[in-house]
Symmetry: C2
Subunit: 257 residues, 2 copies
Amino acid sequence: MADSPENFADTIESLKSLGLTKYEALVYIALLKVEGASATEIHEISGVPRASVYPVLDRLVQKSLVTVSHSTPRRYNAAPPDEGIERLLRDIREGADRAREALIAIYEKRSGPDRGSQELIWSIHGDENIRTRIADLALHATESIVAVSSFPFLKRSLLPLLEKTGPDMSVVIITDHWEGKTRDSVTVRLLPAAIHNAKPLSMRDTAGMFIFDQKKALVLMGPEKGPLTALYSESPGFISFFLRYFTFIEEIAGDAP
Amino acid sequence: MADSPENFADTIESLKSLGLTKYEALVYIALLKVEGASATEIHEISGVPRASVYPVLDRLVQKSLVTVSHSTPRRYNAAPPDEGIERLLRDIREGADRAREALIAIYEKRSGPDRGSQELIWSIHGDENIRTRIADLALHATESIVAVSSFPFLKRSLLPLLEKTGPDMSVVIITDHWEGKTRDSVTVRLLPAAIHNAKPLSMRDTAGMFIFDQKKALVLMGPEKGPLTALYSESPGFISFFLRYFTFIEEIAGDAP
DNA sequence: TAAATGTTGTTATAACAACAACAACAAGTG
DNA sequence: CACTTGTTGTTGTTGTTATAACAACATTTA
Protein backbone atom coordinates (compact mmCIF):
# COMPACT_ATOMS: atom_id res chain seq x y z
CA MET A 1 0.00 0.00 0.00
CA ALA A 2 1.69 3.11 1.23
CA ASP A 3 4.88 1.16 1.86
CA SER A 4 6.60 1.84 -1.42
CA PRO A 5 8.13 5.27 -1.95
CA GLU A 6 5.92 6.03 -4.96
CA ASN A 7 2.76 5.14 -3.14
CA PHE A 8 3.86 7.09 -0.14
CA ALA A 9 4.65 10.11 -2.29
CA ASP A 10 1.25 9.77 -3.96
CA THR A 11 -0.44 9.71 -0.59
CA ILE A 12 1.41 12.84 0.47
CA GLU A 13 0.48 14.59 -2.78
CA SER A 14 -3.14 13.60 -2.44
CA LEU A 15 -3.27 14.92 1.10
CA LYS A 16 -1.69 18.14 -0.14
CA SER A 17 -4.38 18.40 -2.81
CA LEU A 18 -6.84 18.10 0.03
CA GLY A 19 -5.35 21.18 1.62
CA LEU A 20 -2.69 19.85 3.96
CA THR A 21 0.92 21.01 3.93
CA LYS A 22 3.67 18.45 3.59
CA TYR A 23 4.40 18.58 7.31
CA GLU A 24 0.71 18.24 8.19
CA ALA A 25 0.40 15.18 5.99
CA LEU A 26 3.52 13.59 7.46
CA VAL A 27 2.38 14.20 11.00
CA TYR A 28 -1.12 12.91 10.38
CA ILE A 29 0.28 9.73 8.87
CA ALA A 30 2.64 9.29 11.80
CA LEU A 31 -0.26 9.64 14.21
CA LEU A 32 -2.18 6.95 12.37
CA LYS A 33 0.61 4.57 13.25
CA VAL A 34 0.71 5.13 16.97
CA GLU A 35 -1.99 5.91 19.45
CA GLY A 36 -1.44 8.64 21.98
CA ALA A 37 1.93 9.82 20.69
CA SER A 38 3.82 12.76 22.14
CA ALA A 39 5.29 15.52 19.99
CA THR A 40 8.77 14.03 20.33
CA GLU A 41 7.56 10.61 19.22
CA ILE A 42 5.76 12.15 16.26
CA HIS A 43 9.00 13.89 15.35
CA GLU A 44 10.87 10.60 15.46
CA ILE A 45 8.30 8.69 13.41
CA SER A 46 7.56 11.36 10.85
CA GLY A 47 10.92 13.03 10.38
CA VAL A 48 9.33 16.45 10.80
CA PRO A 49 11.56 18.72 12.93
CA ARG A 50 10.52 18.56 16.56
CA ALA A 51 10.02 22.31 16.92
CA SER A 52 7.82 22.31 13.83
CA VAL A 53 5.66 19.48 15.07
CA TYR A 54 3.92 21.71 17.63
CA PRO A 55 2.42 24.31 15.32
CA VAL A 56 1.61 21.57 12.81
CA LEU A 57 -0.30 19.67 15.47
CA ASP A 58 -2.14 22.85 16.47
CA ARG A 59 -3.30 23.29 12.90
CA LEU A 60 -4.35 19.63 12.62
CA VAL A 61 -6.38 19.99 15.80
CA GLN A 62 -8.00 23.06 14.28
CA LYS A 63 -8.84 21.01 11.22
CA SER A 64 -10.35 18.31 13.49
CA LEU A 65 -7.97 15.70 12.15
CA VAL A 66 -6.32 15.24 15.53
CA THR A 67 -7.48 15.22 19.15
CA VAL A 68 -5.24 16.32 21.99
CA SER A 69 -4.88 15.29 25.61
CA HIS A 70 -3.48 18.16 27.64
CA SER A 71 -1.26 15.89 29.64
CA THR A 72 2.48 16.45 30.16
CA PRO A 73 3.77 15.81 27.61
CA ARG A 74 0.76 16.47 25.48
CA ARG A 75 -0.45 13.41 23.60
CA TYR A 76 -2.30 13.23 20.34
CA ASN A 77 -4.59 10.90 18.45
CA ALA A 78 -5.49 10.92 14.79
CA ALA A 79 -9.05 10.83 13.55
CA PRO A 80 -9.62 7.57 11.65
CA PRO A 81 -8.76 7.86 7.93
CA ASP A 82 -12.37 7.59 6.78
CA GLU A 83 -13.40 10.52 8.91
CA GLY A 84 -10.31 12.55 8.23
CA ILE A 85 -10.43 12.27 4.46
CA GLU A 86 -14.16 12.80 4.37
CA ARG A 87 -13.81 15.98 6.41
CA LEU A 88 -11.24 17.47 4.12
CA LEU A 89 -13.04 16.38 0.98
CA ARG A 90 -16.38 17.69 2.13
CA ASP A 91 -15.09 21.20 2.56
CA ILE A 92 -13.65 21.16 -0.93
CA ARG A 93 -16.76 19.64 -2.39
CA GLU A 94 -18.99 22.25 -0.81
CA GLY A 95 -16.76 25.00 -2.07
CA ALA A 96 -16.84 23.43 -5.50
CA ASP A 97 -20.63 23.34 -5.46
CA ARG A 98 -20.83 27.00 -4.58
CA ALA A 99 -18.26 27.88 -7.23
CA ARG A 100 -20.10 25.88 -9.84
CA GLU A 101 -23.31 27.80 -9.22
CA ALA A 102 -21.53 31.12 -9.30
CA LEU A 103 -19.70 30.26 -12.49
CA ILE A 104 -22.82 28.97 -14.22
CA ALA A 105 -24.53 32.26 -13.47
CA ILE A 106 -21.64 34.09 -15.07
CA TYR A 107 -21.46 31.72 -18.03
CA GLU A 108 -25.13 32.02 -18.78
CA LYS A 109 -24.93 35.74 -19.21
CA ARG A 110 -21.97 35.67 -21.50
CA SER A 111 -21.91 38.73 -23.67
CA GLY A 112 -19.76 40.45 -26.18
CA PRO A 113 -19.15 39.80 -29.84
CA ASP A 114 -19.81 36.23 -30.80
CA ARG A 115 -16.50 36.50 -32.41
CA GLY A 116 -14.37 33.96 -33.95
CA SER A 117 -16.42 30.98 -33.02
CA GLN A 118 -17.68 30.41 -36.46
CA GLU A 119 -14.41 31.12 -38.18
CA LEU A 120 -11.82 29.78 -35.82
CA ILE A 121 -10.33 26.36 -35.57
CA TRP A 122 -10.08 25.08 -32.00
CA SER A 123 -7.64 22.59 -30.62
CA ILE A 124 -8.95 19.96 -28.26
CA HIS A 125 -6.52 17.75 -26.41
CA GLY A 126 -7.11 14.42 -24.74
CA ASP A 127 -9.30 11.46 -25.47
CA GLU A 128 -11.84 12.34 -22.85
CA ASN A 129 -12.18 15.97 -23.76
CA ILE A 130 -12.71 14.99 -27.37
CA ARG A 131 -15.34 12.44 -26.51
CA THR A 132 -17.08 14.94 -24.27
CA ARG A 133 -17.19 17.42 -27.13
CA ILE A 134 -18.49 14.77 -29.54
CA ALA A 135 -21.18 13.84 -27.05
CA ASP A 136 -22.23 17.44 -26.64
CA LEU A 137 -22.36 18.01 -30.37
CA ALA A 138 -24.29 14.81 -31.02
CA LEU A 139 -26.87 15.58 -28.37
CA HIS A 140 -27.41 19.05 -29.79
CA ALA A 141 -27.52 18.01 -33.43
CA THR A 142 -31.01 18.25 -34.93
CA GLU A 143 -30.72 17.13 -38.56
CA SER A 144 -27.74 15.03 -39.47
CA ILE A 145 -24.54 13.43 -38.33
CA VAL A 146 -21.92 12.01 -40.64
CA ALA A 147 -18.90 10.21 -39.30
CA VAL A 148 -15.79 8.58 -40.69
CA SER A 149 -13.91 6.76 -38.01
CA SER A 150 -12.67 3.43 -36.79
CA PHE A 151 -15.16 1.18 -35.12
CA PRO A 152 -13.39 1.13 -31.76
CA PHE A 153 -13.43 4.90 -31.51
CA LEU A 154 -17.04 5.09 -32.69
CA LYS A 155 -17.97 2.52 -30.10
CA ARG A 156 -16.61 4.56 -27.25
CA SER A 157 -17.67 7.96 -28.54
CA LEU A 158 -20.65 8.28 -30.84
CA LEU A 159 -22.46 4.98 -30.90
CA PRO A 160 -23.75 5.02 -27.33
CA LEU A 161 -25.32 8.38 -28.08
CA LEU A 162 -27.30 7.31 -31.09
CA GLU A 163 -29.87 5.79 -28.79
CA LYS A 164 -30.71 9.28 -27.66
CA THR A 165 -30.95 11.12 -30.95
CA GLY A 166 -34.23 12.28 -32.36
CA PRO A 167 -36.23 10.27 -34.89
CA ASP A 168 -35.68 12.75 -37.69
CA MET A 169 -31.95 12.56 -37.44
CA SER A 170 -30.04 11.24 -40.42
CA VAL A 171 -26.87 9.42 -39.49
CA VAL A 172 -24.30 8.16 -41.98
CA ILE A 173 -21.26 6.31 -40.75
CA ILE A 174 -18.27 5.17 -42.71
CA THR A 175 -15.99 2.86 -40.85
CA ASP A 176 -13.49 0.06 -41.13
CA HIS A 177 -15.72 -2.61 -39.77
CA TRP A 178 -19.00 -3.01 -38.01
CA GLU A 179 -20.62 -5.04 -35.26
CA GLY A 180 -24.09 -4.97 -33.87
CA LYS A 181 -27.43 -3.69 -35.03
CA THR A 182 -28.26 -0.31 -36.46
CA ARG A 183 -31.38 1.76 -36.15
CA ASP A 184 -33.27 2.43 -39.34
CA SER A 185 -32.10 6.02 -39.46
CA VAL A 186 -28.44 4.99 -39.28
CA THR A 187 -26.65 4.15 -42.52
CA VAL A 188 -23.35 2.33 -42.26
CA ARG A 189 -20.83 2.05 -45.08
CA LEU A 190 -17.60 0.06 -45.04
CA LEU A 191 -14.34 1.13 -46.48
CA PRO A 192 -12.44 -1.55 -48.36
CA ALA A 193 -9.45 -2.66 -46.32
CA ALA A 194 -7.00 -1.51 -48.97
CA ILE A 195 -8.16 2.07 -48.53
CA HIS A 196 -7.78 2.19 -44.78
CA ASN A 197 -4.13 3.03 -44.56
CA ALA A 198 -3.54 4.84 -47.81
CA LYS A 199 -5.16 8.16 -47.08
CA PRO A 200 -4.44 11.02 -44.68
CA LEU A 201 -7.58 10.15 -42.85
CA SER A 202 -6.82 6.53 -42.39
CA MET A 203 -8.89 4.30 -40.25
CA ARG A 204 -6.43 3.98 -37.42
CA ASP A 205 -7.96 4.53 -34.08
CA THR A 206 -6.48 7.98 -33.86
CA ALA A 207 -8.12 9.41 -36.95
CA GLY A 208 -11.66 10.35 -37.82
CA MET A 209 -14.07 12.97 -38.89
CA PHE A 210 -17.46 14.00 -37.52
CA ILE A 211 -19.84 16.55 -39.02
CA PHE A 212 -23.02 17.63 -37.26
CA ASP A 213 -25.88 19.30 -39.08
CA GLN A 214 -23.45 20.17 -41.88
CA LYS A 215 -22.41 23.11 -39.72
CA LYS A 216 -20.00 21.80 -37.14
CA ALA A 217 -17.02 19.58 -37.76
CA LEU A 218 -14.63 17.78 -35.50
CA VAL A 219 -11.58 16.10 -36.96
CA LEU A 220 -9.29 13.70 -35.15
CA MET A 221 -5.74 14.40 -36.10
CA GLY A 222 -3.82 12.83 -33.29
CA PRO A 223 -0.35 11.41 -33.63
CA GLU A 224 0.02 7.67 -33.74
CA LYS A 225 1.13 7.76 -30.17
CA GLY A 226 0.62 10.19 -27.40
CA PRO A 227 -2.45 12.17 -26.45
CA LEU A 228 -5.28 12.39 -28.90
CA THR A 229 -5.79 15.77 -30.54
CA ALA A 230 -8.75 17.07 -32.47
CA LEU A 231 -9.63 20.20 -34.37
CA TYR A 232 -13.10 21.63 -34.18
CA SER A 233 -14.59 24.38 -36.26
CA GLU A 234 -17.82 25.88 -37.49
CA SER A 235 -16.02 27.69 -40.27
CA PRO A 236 -17.88 27.20 -43.57
CA GLY A 237 -14.59 26.65 -45.41
CA PHE A 238 -13.50 23.99 -43.01
CA ILE A 239 -16.90 22.31 -43.17
CA SER A 240 -17.14 22.37 -46.90
CA PHE A 241 -13.67 20.88 -47.28
CA PHE A 242 -14.54 17.95 -45.12
CA LEU A 243 -18.00 17.51 -46.59
CA ARG A 244 -16.36 17.15 -50.00
CA TYR A 245 -13.91 14.71 -48.58
CA PHE A 246 -16.74 12.79 -47.01
CA THR A 247 -18.63 12.64 -50.28
CA PHE A 248 -15.56 11.21 -51.95
CA ILE A 249 -15.13 8.58 -49.28
CA GLU A 250 -18.79 7.69 -49.43
CA GLU A 251 -18.61 6.95 -53.12
CA ILE A 252 -15.99 4.30 -52.67
CA ALA A 253 -17.44 2.78 -49.57
CA GLY A 254 -19.59 -0.29 -49.68
CA ASP A 255 -22.68 -1.19 -47.76
CA ALA A 256 -22.22 -2.78 -44.38
CA PRO A 257 -23.32 -6.39 -44.16
CA MET B 1 -24.34 35.31 -7.36
CA ALA B 2 -20.70 36.04 -7.88
CA ASP B 3 -21.47 39.74 -8.15
CA SER B 4 -20.77 40.73 -4.59
CA PRO B 5 -17.17 40.98 -3.46
CA GLU B 6 -17.59 38.33 -0.76
CA ASN B 7 -19.11 35.85 -3.14
CA PHE B 8 -16.47 36.59 -5.70
CA ALA B 9 -13.74 36.08 -3.12
CA ASP B 10 -15.38 32.82 -2.06
CA THR B 11 -15.45 31.64 -5.64
CA ILE B 12 -11.77 32.44 -6.04
CA GLU B 13 -10.91 30.64 -2.81
CA SER B 14 -12.92 27.60 -3.82
CA LEU B 15 -11.19 27.44 -7.17
CA LYS B 16 -7.87 27.73 -5.35
CA SER B 17 -8.88 24.82 -3.13
CA LEU B 18 -9.49 22.94 -6.35
CA GLY B 19 -5.89 23.48 -7.32
CA LEU B 20 -5.93 26.69 -9.36
CA THR B 21 -3.70 29.66 -8.63
CA LYS B 22 -5.31 33.05 -8.12
CA TYR B 23 -4.42 34.12 -11.64
CA GLU B 24 -5.73 30.88 -13.13
CA ALA B 25 -9.03 31.36 -11.36
CA LEU B 26 -9.35 34.97 -12.48
CA VAL B 27 -8.57 34.08 -16.08
CA TYR B 28 -10.97 31.16 -16.17
CA ILE B 29 -13.75 33.36 -14.81
CA ALA B 30 -12.96 36.05 -17.38
CA LEU B 31 -13.15 33.47 -20.16
CA LEU B 32 -16.55 32.35 -18.95
CA LYS B 33 -17.79 35.86 -19.65
CA VAL B 34 -16.65 36.19 -23.23
CA GLU B 35 -16.35 33.68 -26.00
CA GLY B 36 -13.23 33.58 -28.10
CA ALA B 37 -11.28 36.20 -26.19
CA SER B 38 -7.71 37.16 -26.97
CA ALA B 39 -5.01 37.41 -24.31
CA THR B 40 -5.27 41.16 -24.24
CA GLU B 41 -9.03 41.04 -23.73
CA ILE B 42 -8.61 38.53 -20.95
CA HIS B 43 -6.12 40.87 -19.35
CA GLU B 44 -8.63 43.72 -19.54
CA ILE B 45 -11.52 41.71 -18.15
CA SER B 46 -9.64 39.88 -15.43
CA GLY B 47 -7.11 42.42 -14.26
CA VAL B 48 -4.32 39.86 -14.53
CA PRO B 49 -1.17 41.47 -16.00
CA ARG B 50 -1.05 40.92 -19.75
CA ALA B 51 2.37 39.28 -19.75
CA SER B 52 1.20 36.86 -17.06
CA VAL B 53 -1.94 35.89 -18.95
CA TYR B 54 0.04 33.83 -21.46
CA PRO B 55 1.63 31.29 -19.13
CA VAL B 56 -1.59 31.16 -17.16
CA LEU B 57 -3.54 30.28 -20.28
CA ASP B 58 -0.98 27.63 -21.19
CA ARG B 59 -1.52 25.99 -17.82
CA LEU B 60 -5.32 26.18 -18.11
CA VAL B 61 -5.10 24.52 -21.53
CA GLN B 62 -2.96 21.82 -19.94
CA LYS B 63 -5.65 21.35 -17.30
CA SER B 64 -8.27 21.08 -20.06
CA LEU B 65 -10.21 24.03 -18.67
CA VAL B 66 -9.58 26.10 -21.78
CA THR B 67 -9.38 25.44 -25.51
CA VAL B 68 -7.19 27.47 -27.84
CA SER B 69 -7.49 28.56 -31.47
CA HIS B 70 -4.03 29.18 -32.91
CA SER B 71 -5.13 32.24 -34.80
CA THR B 72 -3.39 35.62 -34.65
CA PRO B 73 -3.98 36.75 -32.01
CA ARG B 74 -4.65 33.46 -30.29
CA ARG B 75 -8.17 33.13 -29.00
CA TYR B 76 -9.43 31.08 -26.10
CA ASN B 77 -12.64 29.49 -24.87
CA ALA B 78 -13.48 28.22 -21.41
CA ALA B 79 -14.87 24.78 -20.75
CA PRO B 80 -18.40 25.10 -19.34
CA PRO B 81 -18.44 25.41 -15.53
CA ASP B 82 -20.02 22.00 -14.98
CA GLU B 83 -17.27 20.29 -16.91
CA GLY B 84 -14.50 22.44 -15.52
CA ILE B 85 -15.39 22.02 -11.87
CA GLU B 86 -16.06 18.33 -12.29
CA ARG B 87 -12.67 17.83 -13.90
CA LEU B 88 -10.83 19.50 -11.09
CA LEU B 89 -12.90 17.83 -8.40
CA ARG B 90 -12.55 14.38 -9.89
CA ASP B 91 -8.78 14.44 -9.72
CA ILE B 92 -8.93 15.41 -6.08
CA ARG B 93 -11.58 12.86 -5.31
CA GLU B 94 -9.60 10.07 -6.92
CA GLY B 95 -6.50 11.08 -5.02
CA ALA B 96 -8.57 11.16 -1.84
CA ASP B 97 -9.83 7.65 -2.49
CA ARG B 98 -6.32 6.34 -2.97
CA ALA B 99 -5.10 8.16 0.12
CA ARG B 100 -7.97 6.81 2.18
CA GLU B 101 -7.07 3.24 1.27
CA ALA B 102 -3.41 3.78 1.99
CA LEU B 103 -4.15 5.43 5.32
CA ILE B 104 -6.58 2.74 6.38
CA ALA B 105 -3.90 0.14 5.73
CA ILE B 106 -1.56 2.09 7.98
CA TYR B 107 -4.19 2.69 10.63
CA GLU B 108 -5.17 -0.94 10.83
CA LYS B 109 -1.68 -2.02 11.69
CA ARG B 110 -1.18 0.51 14.39
CA SER B 111 1.37 -0.69 16.85
CA GLY B 112 3.26 0.46 19.86
CA PRO B 113 2.26 0.83 23.46
CA ASP B 114 -1.46 1.26 23.89
CA ARG B 115 -0.40 4.09 26.03
CA GLY B 116 -2.37 6.78 27.59
CA SER B 117 -5.63 5.96 25.97
CA GLN B 118 -7.12 4.60 29.11
CA GLU B 119 -5.64 7.23 31.39
CA LEU B 120 -5.70 10.38 29.32
CA ILE B 121 -8.39 12.98 28.97
CA TRP B 122 -8.95 14.02 25.37
CA SER B 123 -10.29 17.32 24.13
CA ILE B 124 -12.82 17.24 21.33
CA HIS B 125 -13.83 20.48 19.68
CA GLY B 126 -16.84 21.22 17.58
CA ASP B 127 -20.45 20.15 17.66
CA GLU B 128 -20.10 17.75 14.82
CA ASN B 129 -16.94 16.08 16.03
CA ILE B 130 -18.55 15.55 19.40
CA ARG B 131 -21.66 14.06 17.90
CA THR B 132 -19.59 11.80 15.69
CA ARG B 133 -17.72 10.54 18.74
CA ILE B 134 -20.96 9.98 20.64
CA ALA B 135 -22.35 8.07 17.70
CA ASP B 136 -19.28 5.88 17.51
CA LEU B 137 -19.33 5.17 21.22
CA ALA B 138 -23.05 4.40 21.24
CA LEU B 139 -22.79 2.03 18.33
CA HIS B 140 -19.94 0.15 20.00
CA ALA B 141 -21.50 0.01 23.43
CA THR B 142 -22.64 -3.47 24.43
CA GLU B 143 -24.11 -3.20 27.94
CA SER B 144 -25.21 0.21 29.07
CA ILE B 145 -25.48 3.87 28.28
CA VAL B 146 -26.26 6.55 30.77
CA ALA B 147 -26.76 10.13 29.74
CA VAL B 148 -27.47 13.44 31.40
CA SER B 149 -28.14 16.12 28.88
CA SER B 150 -30.67 18.55 27.53
CA PHE B 151 -33.34 17.19 25.29
CA PRO B 152 -32.32 19.23 22.25
CA PHE B 153 -28.79 17.91 22.39
CA LEU B 154 -29.98 14.35 22.99
CA LYS B 155 -32.31 14.65 20.07
CA ARG B 156 -29.55 15.51 17.68
CA SER B 157 -26.92 13.20 19.10
CA LEU B 158 -27.91 10.06 20.95
CA LEU B 159 -31.61 9.51 20.40
CA PRO B 160 -31.48 8.69 16.70
CA LEU B 161 -28.98 5.97 17.56
CA LEU B 162 -31.08 4.18 20.13
CA GLU B 163 -33.02 2.56 17.33
CA LYS B 164 -29.89 0.70 16.44
CA THR B 165 -28.70 -0.52 19.81
CA GLY B 166 -28.89 -4.15 20.85
CA PRO B 167 -31.80 -5.59 22.79
CA ASP B 168 -29.70 -6.21 25.92
CA MET B 169 -28.64 -2.63 26.18
CA SER B 170 -29.65 -0.72 29.29
CA VAL B 171 -30.18 2.97 28.66
CA VAL B 172 -30.85 5.54 31.35
CA ILE B 173 -31.38 9.12 30.42
CA ILE B 174 -31.76 12.11 32.68
CA THR B 175 -32.88 15.22 30.97
CA ASP B 176 -34.73 18.48 31.34
CA HIS B 177 -37.76 17.47 29.39
CA TRP B 178 -38.98 14.74 27.14
CA GLU B 179 -41.03 14.22 24.01
CA GLY B 180 -41.88 11.11 22.15
CA LYS B 181 -41.97 7.43 22.94
CA THR B 182 -39.30 5.33 24.56
CA ARG B 183 -38.36 1.74 23.97
CA ASP B 184 -38.79 -0.59 26.93
CA SER B 185 -35.07 -0.75 27.53
CA VAL B 186 -34.79 3.03 27.82
CA THR B 187 -35.43 4.68 31.16
CA VAL B 188 -36.02 8.39 31.21
CA ARG B 189 -35.83 10.55 34.29
CA LEU B 190 -36.61 14.26 34.54
CA LEU B 191 -34.76 16.78 36.56
CA PRO B 192 -36.90 19.30 38.45
CA ALA B 193 -36.62 22.68 36.76
CA ALA B 194 -35.12 24.28 39.85
CA ILE B 195 -32.09 22.01 39.58
CA HIS B 196 -31.32 22.74 35.96
CA ASN B 197 -29.35 25.90 36.41
CA ALA B 198 -27.87 25.44 39.86
CA LYS B 199 -25.16 22.94 39.15
CA PRO B 200 -21.95 22.86 37.16
CA LEU B 201 -23.56 20.37 34.83
CA SER B 202 -26.65 22.34 34.18
CA MET B 203 -29.09 21.42 31.52
CA ARG B 204 -28.18 24.14 29.12
CA ASP B 205 -27.71 22.88 25.65
CA THR B 206 -23.98 23.09 26.00
CA ALA B 207 -23.63 20.70 28.94
CA GLY B 208 -24.04 17.01 29.34
CA MET B 209 -22.53 13.71 30.32
CA PHE B 210 -22.50 10.36 28.57
CA ILE B 211 -21.14 7.10 29.96
CA PHE B 212 -20.90 3.95 27.85
CA ASP B 213 -20.54 0.48 29.39
CA GLN B 214 -19.33 2.17 32.58
CA LYS B 215 -15.94 2.37 30.89
CA LYS B 216 -16.00 5.34 28.57
CA ALA B 217 -17.19 8.81 29.43
CA LEU B 218 -17.76 11.90 27.38
CA VAL B 219 -18.53 15.18 29.10
CA LEU B 220 -19.76 18.32 27.41
CA MET B 221 -18.10 21.30 28.98
CA GLY B 222 -18.50 23.92 26.35
CA PRO B 223 -18.67 27.61 27.01
CA GLU B 224 -22.04 29.28 26.85
CA LYS B 225 -21.10 30.64 23.50
CA GLY B 226 -18.64 29.60 20.92
CA PRO B 227 -17.67 26.17 19.71
CA LEU B 228 -18.76 23.20 21.74
CA THR B 229 -16.02 21.38 23.65
CA ALA B 230 -16.05 17.98 25.22
CA LEU B 231 -13.72 15.86 27.26
CA TYR B 232 -13.48 12.16 26.69
CA SER B 233 -11.70 9.58 28.79
CA GLU B 234 -11.53 5.92 29.65
CA SER B 235 -9.65 6.68 32.83
CA PRO B 236 -11.20 4.78 35.75
CA GLY B 237 -10.91 7.79 38.01
CA PHE B 238 -12.69 10.00 35.55
CA ILE B 239 -15.38 7.38 35.01
CA SER B 240 -15.95 6.76 38.67
CA PHE B 241 -16.25 10.46 39.39
CA PHE B 242 -18.96 10.90 36.85
CA LEU B 243 -20.72 7.68 37.76
CA ARG B 244 -21.01 8.99 41.30
CA TYR B 245 -22.27 12.26 39.97
CA PHE B 246 -24.77 10.45 37.86
CA THR B 247 -26.02 8.41 40.79
CA PHE B 248 -26.57 11.60 42.73
CA ILE B 249 -28.48 13.18 39.88
CA GLU B 250 -30.54 10.07 39.43
CA GLU B 251 -31.69 10.13 43.04
CA ILE B 252 -33.21 13.53 42.71
CA ALA B 253 -34.67 13.02 39.27
CA GLY B 254 -38.27 12.05 38.78
CA ASP B 255 -39.82 9.68 36.33
CA ALA B 256 -40.71 10.97 32.94
CA PRO B 257 -44.41 11.17 32.21
C1' DT C 1 6.50 51.44 -50.49
C1' DA C 2 8.91 52.51 -46.38
C1' DA C 3 8.53 54.19 -41.93
C1' DA C 4 6.03 54.68 -37.81
C1' DT C 5 3.00 52.86 -34.60
C1' DG C 6 0.51 49.39 -32.27
C1' DT C 7 -0.11 44.58 -30.89
C1' DT C 8 1.32 40.09 -29.58
C1' DG C 9 4.15 36.89 -27.40
C1' DT C 10 8.12 35.81 -24.60
C1' DT C 11 11.49 36.23 -21.12
C1' DA C 12 13.74 38.02 -17.18
C1' DT C 13 13.67 40.08 -12.78
C1' DA C 14 11.96 41.73 -8.38
C1' DA C 15 8.79 41.33 -4.69
C1' DC C 16 5.93 38.73 -1.85
C1' DA C 17 3.77 34.94 0.69
C1' DA C 18 3.83 30.53 2.57
C1' DC C 19 6.12 26.66 3.96
C1' DA C 20 10.18 24.09 5.30
C1' DA C 21 14.21 23.84 8.15
C1' DC C 22 17.05 25.12 11.85
C1' DA C 23 18.73 27.46 16.13
C1' DA C 24 18.07 29.09 20.61
C1' DC C 25 15.97 29.76 24.92
C1' DA C 26 12.78 29.36 28.86
C1' DA C 27 9.99 26.54 31.63
C1' DG C 28 8.90 22.21 33.55
C1' DT C 29 10.04 17.51 35.21
C1' DG C 30 12.46 13.71 37.32
C1' DC D 1 21.35 19.17 37.69
C1' DA D 2 20.31 16.98 33.32
C1' DC D 3 16.88 16.15 30.35
C1' DT D 4 12.43 17.04 28.18
C1' DT D 5 8.93 19.94 26.59
C1' DG D 6 7.14 23.88 24.53
C1' DT D 7 7.77 28.26 22.24
C1' DT D 8 9.70 31.68 19.34
C1' DG D 9 12.61 33.64 16.01
C1' DT D 10 15.42 33.44 11.89
C1' DT D 11 16.93 31.72 7.58
C1' DG D 12 16.36 29.19 3.33
C1' DT D 13 13.42 27.48 -0.36
C1' DT D 14 9.68 27.43 -3.44
C1' DG D 15 5.96 29.06 -6.02
C1' DT D 16 3.13 32.87 -7.27
C1' DT D 17 2.38 37.54 -8.21
C1' DA D 18 3.74 41.73 -10.42
C1' DT D 19 6.49 44.39 -13.44
C1' DA D 20 9.84 45.69 -17.04
C1' DA D 21 11.89 44.99 -21.33
C1' DC D 22 12.46 43.29 -25.80
C1' DA D 23 11.70 40.98 -30.31
C1' DA D 24 8.64 39.82 -33.84
C1' DC D 25 4.68 40.69 -36.25
C1' DA D 26 0.65 43.35 -37.92
C1' DT D 27 -1.49 47.56 -39.03
C1' DT D 28 -1.59 52.30 -40.07
C1' DT D 29 0.27 56.44 -41.94
C1' DA D 30 2.71 59.53 -44.93
